[in-house]
Structure formats: C-alpha cells, structure tokens
C-alpha cells in the first residue's frame, strides 16, 4: 500500500502543493482522492526537499485543503496496451470511453517513451499515395514522416485529414496498417465526423481513438498525444504495423501547456507560451519514424489551426521547425471553392526527394515537380502584378502564366473529396498542364522527359467542371 498524505497546502489552478512528503520522485504519477471520493490523477512537476508541486490532469473542482488525500505511486504515467485496443474509443488519458469491456494489457509502457537513438533510425523513403494531387505530386508524403497540416478556423482540415486516412496506401504492398487518432480539445461534432468517416473508409477496426473533448479538462490534453503515441509505438514496433497518427488540434494542446506554465508563474516566452515549448513539442513530433530492422513505422500528421492564419505564430512556427515540412491550407483558395484548399507554394515535404523518382513514383517526378512549381509561382506573381496594373499591361508570355496559374488551381489542386487519383494520373495531369506553356519555357525538365511524356496536343480544360 502507498502512504496517503493529508498535507495539501495550496491549490491554484491545476497545481497542488503537497508538504511533508517523503521519497517523492520527479515526474512521478500521483492519485488524489477528493472529499467526495472521486479519484484524480496528476504528476510531480517539482520536488523541493519535503514539498512536491503536483500538476493535476483532471481539474481541481471539489478538491480542498483539509480532507483531500494524495498518494504517490512511485512510477511514471503508464498505459496498458493490447491489440484489443483496435476499434475502440478511449478518453484523453487512455481509459475506456465506449461501452466495450476493459482492456487486458499485454504490456504496460510509460507514456513519455524514450527518444529513438538517431543511429537506429531508418531514413523514410517509401512513398505513400494519398490520392490527392497537391500532396502526391508536389508535397509527397513518405512513411515515417511527420507532416503537419497548418489550417485556420473554418477551413476543411478535418475533411482533408479524413480523406488522407481513407486513401493513404503504399503501392504494391499489402501490409498491416492502423490509424491512431488523438483528438485534443475538439468538439463533439468534429470527433463524431471522424468516427463516422472511419466507419465508412478504413474499417473502424483498424483505428484506435483517443478523445479529449472541448469540455474535458484542458490539462488532460498534456497527456493525450503521449498516450496516443505510446499506443502507436506499441502497434508499430511491437506489432509490425504501419501506423498513421492524426493529432487534432495541436493548438489546443499548446494552450494547455501555456495554462500550466502560467500557473507556475514561469517567465513567458513569445505570446505567453513557455520558453521550453520547442522541446516539449519535439518530444511529441520526434516520436515519428522508422527503426532499422523493424517492420513497422509511425507517420504523423498533426493538425493545427493557426491563430489568425498567422504562420509566424509560435505554434505553427515551432512546429514547422520540428516537422519535416508542412501542408498549408489557404483561405483564399477555400473561398474560391477549391477543395482541398492546399496552398502549394508555402507547403513543403522535406522528405519527398527520397520518396519520388524511378522505382518509387516515376522517373520524371522531380523535374515535373520543379517545373509545375516554378510555373505556378510565376503565374501567381503575375496575378499579383495584374491586380495593380491591370491584365492588359501584361506581356504575352505573362498572360500565359496568368492563365496557367488559374487552370492549375482549378484542375490540379481541385479535386473531389472522394476522388482518388493514382500517382500516374497526377503526373500525367501535370504534363497536360505544361502543354499550356511554350516549350521553350520548360527549362527545368530534361529534354528526354519532354520527348517521352509531354502530350502533343494542347490541353483544354473542361469548363464548369
């Protein structure tokens, strides 16, 4: 039995100060019994001689100074894992949330995990086909990558994520795969949307869902991504599965982090977020990857809503510094009715170079990518210019680029929510678009590829489609 302390001295926000304790360790898990008998959990943030500062995971409502009992459990926060978790729904701390039976764990792991030895990492290079041209063609995702979606409130990130979950596959292989979904501070409706879409696409039986809803205690969110990733690591590295982890919404997570930092009266960094947020986020994002000699992999797709669509806000900024690229959704494309509204120019997949080309996608992919990209970038510049000067003042060549950028958005970026394009289709579509430009402008593709892939007929987009 563990010693019980009745020595709570201070409660402020999610923080509880317990005195006259003995043998308490940093980062230890605690259990608190409130006067009404309800059980809460928390962890030790700091120990100073016989005082322990504890952070609660479930809010402090109903806790008092005199009758609250605290137990230190002598271990970190752990989660029991088993293959039976597939198809089930859990809360943000990993407790059963659906009507099913409790999980009988096969193994119990600390939710903080351990950093992967960089020497053990296998470089991600297997192309994942998402069936979305703007991703496959221009921001290719590979297994073991962490590629976030930077969104804004009101943008269809949930639909894009759900489409990726439905369609993602590695070509030519039948392998065990699973989806781990962690919802942090999302609304019931958002959660419901995902659950329904899982039912439709990848059978729900391949999915593990962890939900911390908007009305659940916010500090529980600190644990949610870690619980989910521990589950993902178990599936990937113990059970040889390819796991896609969706974390929605990291902005809510960071706000919870800020809440605790503020409660501890720490010196705030930019916009009040703690100075260690980079390190904290890294301890989540870096849990993606592949390990040499192991079959499974973890691919992460964190989703965050940028406050005021500002990419330099600390949350997207620090995320961008850790993750291997980003997919940015654009409000202006969304307004134009383009789905998915992926803003191709600032989006980036850092690991694409090893995932594309001969034997992975197709030999011409890299050249084609560069050409489409620079043509679209030039077209966008011309469009900006035209706003100031009027379309008439553009040179003939610029007018071609102007048009190109328009058609590119309507035909290439735009696609149906249930439309799945193979990589061949995506690449061929790219070549079709290049016929809109004079051939002398195709400087970034090798002549032999022009010979082989460029259609002889000029592309005419169907209108009104």
């Amino acid at each position: 039995m563990f010693k019980e302390y009745l020595t709570v001295r201070e409660i402020s926000g999610p923080l509880v100060l317990v005195e006259e304790v003995e043998g308490v360790k940093y980062d230890e898990l605690i259990e608190i019994t409130a006067p009404d008998g309800s059980l809460r959990r928390g962890r030790v943030l700091e120990v100073h001689e016989d005082k322990a500062l504890v952070q609660l995971f479930e809010g402090a409502t109903g806790i008092d100074i005199y009758r609250t009992r605290v137990r230190f459990l002598g271990r970190g926060i752990e989660i029991g894992l088993s293959l039976d978790m597939l198809g089930r729904v859990f809360d943000g701390m990993g407790r059963v949330r659906d009507d099913g039976p409790p999980i009988i764990p096969e193994i119990t792991l600390d939710i903080n995990g351990s950093p992967i030895n960089p020497y053990s990492r296998d470089y991600p290079s297997e192309f994942i086909q998402t069936g979305i041209s703007a991703i496959d063609g221009l921001n290719t995702l590979v297994r073991g990558q962490k590629l976030p979606i930077f969104s804004g409130s009101g943008l269809p990130h949930a639909r894009v994520a759900a489409q990726i979950v439905r369609q993602a596959k590695v070509l030519g292989k039948e392998e065990k795969f699973a989806v781990v979904f962690a919802g942090m501070g999302i609304t019931f409706e958002e959660a419901d949307f995902f659950l329904k879409s899982f039912e439709k696409g990848v059978a729900l039986s391949r999915t593990v869902v962890f939900l911390n809803l908007a009305d659940d205690p916010s500090i529980e969110r600190i644990a949610t991504p870690r619980v989910a990733l521990t589950c993902a690591e178990y599936l990937a590295f113990y059970k040889d599965m390819h796991v896609l982890v969706i974390l929605l919404d990291m902005t809510n997570y960071c706000e919870a982090l800020r809440e605790i930092s503020a409660a501890r009266k720490e010196v705030p960094g930019r916009r009040g977020y703690p100075g260690y947020m980079y390190t904290d986020l890294a301890s989540i994002y870096e849990r993606a990857g592949r390990i040499k000699g192991k079959k499974g992999s973890i691919t992460q797709m964190p989703i965050l809503t940028m406050p005021e669509d500002d990419k330099t806000h600390p949350i997207p900024d620090l995320t961008g510094y850790i993750t291997e690229g980003q997919i940015i959704l654009s409000r202006s494309l969304h307004r134009k009715g383009i789905y998915p509204p992926i803003d191709v120019l600032p989006s980036l997949s850092r690991l694409k170079d090893r995932g594309i080309g001969k034997g992975k996608t197709r030999e011409d992919h890299a050249d084609l990518f560069n050409q489409l990209f620079s043509a679209y970038a030039h077209g966008k510049e011309v469009q900006e210019l035209a706003v100031i000067l009027g379309e008439e003042s553009l040179s003939e060549l610029d007018r071609i680029y102007y048009k190109f950028a328009e058609i590119f958005e309507e035909v290439y970026v735009n696609q149906g929510e249930y439309e799945e394009r193979s990589i061949e289709e995506t690449l061929d579509l790219g070549w079709k678009l290049l016929t809109l430009l004079p051939q002398s402008e195709l400087k970034r593709v090798r002549p032999e590829f022009i010979e082989k892939y460029l259609p002889k007929e000029k592309f005419t987009p169907e209108r009104g489609g």
Partner: protein, 583 residues
C-alpha cells in the same frame, strides 16, 4: 562522503553537501548515476544541469562529483563516429541497449579494444615540447591522425615504440625537466569549455571552397572564418548545411546536429558513407565526425553539444588540418541556455534569454580561426564555423541572430520567398554579405582569374539595379523601360536562374568547381556585353531577348565538371555573336 539532492525541477537538480564541488565539474546524480555538470554554487548548495532525463529522481538521492570538468576524449577512432552531446557513442549505445536512448550509461567514447598502427616520428633522447608530433596513425585512407605531445608537457623522450596498440597502451615516456617521467598514450582528454591553446592567430586568407556558386562567387567564406545562416523554417538551412558538409574542401568536417530532427541525422548517416569526397574520392564519412543531439534528447546535453564538437575540431586543427564545423542549429543551443537560466530563476534579458547570451555566442565563434599551432614545426591549421540560426518566424531581430551577426563575418540570409519560388540555395543576394572578399583578393586573383572579382562586382551591380527596376516595372509595366534596361533585367534573370540557382539533388549541379563557376559567370556577363553592343548597333530588342544562345546558357550547369572545353567553346561563341550577326 556524498552530496544529497534537495530539489529536482526538470533538467535542474540542486544538491547539498557535495565534498570538493567546483564549478563546471561533472557529477553523477541520483541512484541512476545520471551525468550532470555543476553550473552554480551557493554556499553549500550546488545547482546541477543534468544531461539526461531526470524522471524518477528525488530528494535524498546521492550526488558524487568526478572532480573533473566536462571533457572529451581525443584520439584515433574519432572519425566516422557518431556521438551524442556529451560524446557517448550512439552506435555502441545501440548495440548495448537497443534502439532507444537509455539513461545512466557509462560507455567510453572511443573504443578501448581497437588497435591502431602507431608510427613514431621522434627518436629516443630527442627533446620535445607541447604540440610536437610524437607519431602518426593512418586513421582513414587519407587522414593521418597525428599524435601530439599534450599541452604542458616538455622534456626528453625516454622511450618510444611503434607498432599496434590500443589507445590506452603506453607509446612513449617523456622525462620532464624536473626529472619526473610521464607516460603517454594515444588517448588524451580536454575540457570542452576551455579552448585548446595555439601559438598565434592569423587573419584568414584562403577561400573555403564549397562548390556552391552563390557562396564561392558572391559571399565566400575563408578557411578559418565564421559564417551564419539564419532563415525561417523551410528556407533550406539544413540542406545548405548538408551541402557545405559534403563539398567543402576542408580536411575534416564536424557536423553538430543540435536540437534538430532525428531523420536529418539519419539522412547524413545514410548519405555520407555513399557520397564521394570530390577531393580524395573517398567516402565522405571518412573525414567526418557527427554529433547528434536531436530535439527530443535531453535539453542540457544540447547546450554541451556545440562545445563537444568544437573541441574535437580544435584537436584536428592542432594537427595542422583545415577543419570546418557545421552547427545546426545554434538557436536550439541558445534555447537550452534559456531553459536552464529560467530554472535557475535568473533575471531574464531579451525574449527571456539570459543576459550573458551574446558573450557565450561570441566565445563560441572566437574558437574559429587560422592559427599557427603549438609545436616546433610551426604548422598552420584552420577552424571554420558555420552556424545555422532558426529565428522565430524568420524575424532577424531575434536576440540569437543579433548576437551572432555581431561576431560572424559572413552572413548568408536565407529567405522563404525565394524558397517558395524554388530558388535554391535561397540565399538573398541583396542582403547577404561576406567581409572576407578583401582578405581573399590576392588568393582568388592568383588561383582563378585576374578578373574574377570584377565579374563578381558587375554581377552584383546588375542584381542591385534589377531590384530598382522591378520597383518601376511594378508601377508602370515592363513596356515603359528602355531597351537597355530590359536587356539588363533579362541578364539579371539569367544570373539568378542560370548561375545562382543550383540544384542540390542533381548529380552534376550539386557541386561546381571554381573554374566552372568562373566560366559560367563570365559567359553570362560576356553575353550581356555583346548584346548591349548589338543593341547599340540598332538591333531589335525582341530578337536579342530571345537569342538562341540563351538556351545553351541555361544548360551550362549540367555540363560535366571536368569538361572545361564545352564552356570555353561556348564563351568563344558568345564573344563572336556580333560577327555572326553581321554575316
């Protein structure tokens, strides 16, 4: 006698009553024996920054001091290794404990079993002093690892023996002037926070060739110089650092991954054994030491990692080599400083960084330089440092950027808008600078061409003019410019797209020798001069803008590096376009 922990807060542990505690001594913390360093002493209390995760550590646990400051092991076996921030070998760690990092391990950085062939360079009875070459070991095919007499030792060689030894076996005995005998092995230790001594510092005068056109031609770095690469995420800092690590003509590369992505280190580990060093034809890994402290590894070790790296670099510099250190990213190092400072409850300076940040940054970059090494042969070694900085939101007013700009001489400004246009390396040609151009002048003139610097000046001037003209174009349209200005715009475009833009992933374009760079720039500018002449003779601007040679100029980059003839021929033809037009 042991000290006792009284407080644990993240990576900061406070302990009381450690006997003989000195500043910056390494201590073993708790029952798990975690590695830490004393960073503050207040009466009987010592603040310790712990290099490993402190979960599960609590008050009452013991703290033992090792009595020595944080040091690195130096000796044969460093090359091709991959270490964490406090020089634990990650490959050995994987063999011992598996794929995840575990705490409290005590693994020696260098192999104690491996035997090296030591060839003595001195004889018994010879007088030797600190820095003299005792002998050599062929560490990799092209790198001879020179075993030096450690600083502070001077005397007569009593005994020296060649043959196959481990790094702990005695190779020599020195009888010092006071009559004591000192036994020497190939293994030496040096505290990381203390710069290694040298005889004299000299101004740099040779270019560090990187094969990157925008750098070598426009903003060159000198051997022994310092450079910084700030840029927002996605602007290609890491690709640039990798390119420099691959193609720099340094003998030794120390690559420090400080608080960055694990997969990036994996890519270095994957590529470097495969890629050939363009100067020796050997795998690049054979001249490289990797320090990997990824962002999810303990934050305090990140703080130590850049010192670990630079100390190893100084050690190779002392052998008389040209060494280049790539630190990616110094912002993460500064954040580690900030985090520790915050836990110590120090008064914060700008953005929460400690007030001593600029001083620490300056001290780090000052460890670079071209020096006469200690030792009687007066050999010269250089140490160049290239630090990446990751300012929040790409904002250059960030304290780390500002502190860095105060001390470095080369500034390569990476910008995301260039990256969006897929102009790589995304170095802004208007805002970047190099203060080494003057130092390098005589060397460049001699080694490449008399007119090299003139070409550079002219090209930069055209680009500057382009920026001005574009303002006008934005307001009134390109049609309103004079034909001469339109030609200039076209040439500026050619400089940007055909010369500055370089594809890191193309097997040929990834590296350009200086000679090729010279010819390429020469061709672009000569073409410009010829067209201006034709224009003045009354040729139509439209014809000049779509001149057929443009196509060939655009493909110059793909001409094989050893094939100088194709470009010389092109230059000749460009020179003659006037004549052809007359026919």
């Amino acid at each position: 006698m042991k000290g006792k922990i009284v407080r644990v807060a993240g990576p900061l542990v406070i302990a009381r009553g450690i006997p003989g505690a000195k500043m910056y001594d390494v201590v073993r913390v708790g029952n798990a024996g975690l590695v830490g360093e004393i960073i503050e002493l207040k009466g009987d209390e010592a603040s310790i920054q712990v290099y490993e995760n402190t979960s599960g550590i609590g008050p009452g646990e013991p703290v033992i001091t090792t009595g020595a400051p944080l040091s690195v092991e130096l000796g044969p076996g460093l090359l091709t290794s991959i270490f964490d921030g406090i020089q634990r070998p990650l490959d050995v760690m994987r063999e011992k404990v598996g794929d995840f990092i575990t705490r409290g391990l005590d693994i020696p950085p260098l192999s104690r079993e491996k035997k090296w062939d030591f060839e003595p360079a001195v004889k018994e009875g010879e007088e030797i002093g600190e820095g003299d070459i005792l002998g050599e070991v062929q560490e990799t095919k092209y790198i001879r690892h020179r075993i030096l007499v450690p600083p502070g030792i001077k005397g007569k060689v009593r005994k020296i023996r060649g043959g196959s030894f481990t790094i702990e076996e005695e190779i020599a005995v020195i009888k010092t002037d006071d009559g004591k005998e000192t036994s020497l092995t190939m293994l030496q230790k040096w505290p990381v926070r203390r710069p290694r001594p040298f005889k004299k510092k000299l101004p740099p005068e040779k270019i560090l060739i990187t094969g990157q056109r925008v750098i070598d031609a426009f903003f060159p770095l000198a051997k022994g110089g310092t450079a910084c690469v700030p840029g927002p995420f996605g602007s290609g800092k890491t690709v640039l650092q990798h390119q420099l690590a691959k193609w720099s003509d340094a003998h030794i590369i120390i690559y420090i991954g400080c608080g960055e992505r694990g997969n990036e280190m994996a890519s270095v580990l994957l590529e470097f054994p495969e890629l050939e060093d363009p100067y020796t034809g050997e795998p690049l890994i054979n001249r490289t030491v990797l320090i990997a402290n990824t962002s999810n590894m303990p934050v305090a070790a990140r703080e130590a990692s850049i010192y670990t790296g630079v100390t190893i670099a100084e050690y190779f510099r002392d052998m008389g080599y040209n060494v280049a250190v790539m630190a990616d990213s110094t912002s993460r190092w500064a954040e580690a400083l900030r985090e520790i400072s915050g836990r110590l409850e120090e008064m914060p300076g700008e953005e929460g960084y400690p007030a001593y940040l600029p001083q620490r940054v300056a001290e780090f970059y000052e460890r670079a330089g071209r020096v006469i090494c200690i030792g009687k042969d007066g050999r010269e070694g250089t140490l160049s440092i290239i630090g990446a900085v990751s300012p929040p939101g790409g904002d250059l007013s960030d304290p780390v950027v500002q502190a860095t700009l105060k001390v470095v001489k080369v500034f390569w400004s990476l910008e995301d808008w260039l990256a969006y246009r897929r102009h790589f390396p995304a170095i802004n040609w208007l805002t970047s600078y190099s203060l080494y151009v003057e130092n390098l002048e005589s060397y460049l003139k001699k080694e490449i061409a008399e007119d090299w610097l003139n070409l550079r000046k002219e090209a930069l001037k055209i680009l500057e003019k382009e920026a001005d003209l574009q303002e006008i174009v934005r307001l009134v349209g390109v049609e309103s410019l004079s034909p001469k200005d339109r030609l200039l715009l076209e040439t500026a475009r050619s400089i940007r797209e055909d010369f500055l833009h370089q594809n890191a992933f193309d097997p040929v374009d990834t590296y350009s020798p200086l000679k090729k760079q010279y010819l390429m720039l020469k061709i672009v500018l000569e073409f410009h001069h010829q067209l201006i002449k034709l224009l003045e003779e009354g040729k139509d601007i439209q014809d000049l803008l779509s001149h057929p040679l443009r196509e060939e100029i655009a493909r110059m980059r793909y001409v094989k590096n050893e094939d100088e003839k194709t470009l010389s021929d092109l230059l000749e033809r460009v020179r003659k376009i006037g004549e052809v037009a007359h026919v």
